[in-house]
Amino acid sequence: MKARVTVTLKNGVLDPQGKAIANALGSLGIEGVSDVRQGKFIEVELNETDPARARAALERMCKELLANPVIENYRYELGDA
């Protein structure tokens, strides 16, 4: 079973990468971008077929490894995109 995890920076946490992208867009001549925030997108292939157990595994994964609770939020979806 496939799962897709998205990790984003919490509000209020400065995002140097997002800021750099926003600046670079300006110099590319792409106007009108008021904010950019960069996060992570992680695709996980699970052997688990039971959705409830898969969800439990995902929850642990995110909490313990994939996201840093000090600065990041996470969400995930199960199933193929």
Partner: protein, 229 residues
């Protein structure tokens, strides 16, 4: 005085810090492989610099889950001195022994150069031999050294006297220009509540003799080792 240096896959300053410790201590530290779940008896545990697990995902994130880190955390809570340098600092925040986190440098680039820092207090195990009001020259070498914690946490840390070192100019002034990586409040090093756990971004082990460009790192190890004798 027994020191242990933890070696993670991808550590690369493990030898450097061992050499510095031996130069000051007269005795080589024990090198402990990350997979060992038992730690040798130690008065000092060092988490060295480098790129543990490639620093993939987030710096220090995967090393924090190494079997040995459970033992290190337990020892730290019992009062053993734990020093995390650079990647070691990142591991200490990831495992929660120190608050906050080390984000990508504001410039987004890896930075390797000498900077100046100032000891925020000099009554600690690590900073006893440093003058309170003078700049100490040490090298940094990192991409993720931008210390972040929310304002409330920062106020609390300052209130509790847990800031260890701050980036400053050669004149010891703490200014935005002297901040190489965007760290909140110019923080370069941080203590835990007991002040026996220290996370430090600069590398004192790279500056222990004139041939390497300076010796401002030596008092750091001397202070530490005298204090633990």
């Amino acid at each position: 005085m027994r020191a242990s240096v933890i070696v993670f896959p991808g550590s690369n300053c493990d030898r450097d810090v061992a050499v510095a410790l031996e130069a000051v201590m007269g005795k080589a530290p024990r090198m402990v492989w990350h997979g060992d779940s038992k730690l040798p008896d130690s008065d000092l545990i060092v988490l060295p610099g480098g790129f543990s697990y490639g620093d993939y995902l987030r710096s220090g994130a995967m090393a924090a889950h190494s079997p040995v880190m459970r033992a290190v955390a337990a020892k730290a809570r019992q009062g053993t001195a734990v020093l995390g340098i650079c990647n070691g600092f990142q591991v200490l925040t990831e495992i929660g022994l120190l608050p906050g986190t080390l984000m990508r440098n504001a410039s987004l680039k890896f930075i390797c150069k000498d900077v100046h820092v100032r000891a925020a207090r000099t009554d600690t195990l690590y900073a006893k031999l440093y003058p309170a009001d003078r700049a100490i020259r040490l090298p940094i070498a990192h991409k993720d050294g931008n210390y972040f914690a929310d304002e409330e946490t920062l106020d609390r840390l300052e209130g509790e006297g847990r800031v260890a070192f701050r980036y400053c100019g050669p004149d010891a002034e703490i200014t935005p220009e002297a901040n190489p990586n965007g760290s909140r409040r110019n923080i370069a090093g941080l203590y835990d509540e007991s002040r026996r756990v220290l996370g430090l971004m600069p590398h004192p082990e790279r500056m222990i003799e004139k041939d390497l460009g300076g010796s401002d790192g030596r008092p750091f190890f001397e202070s530490l080792i005298n204090g633990l004798q």
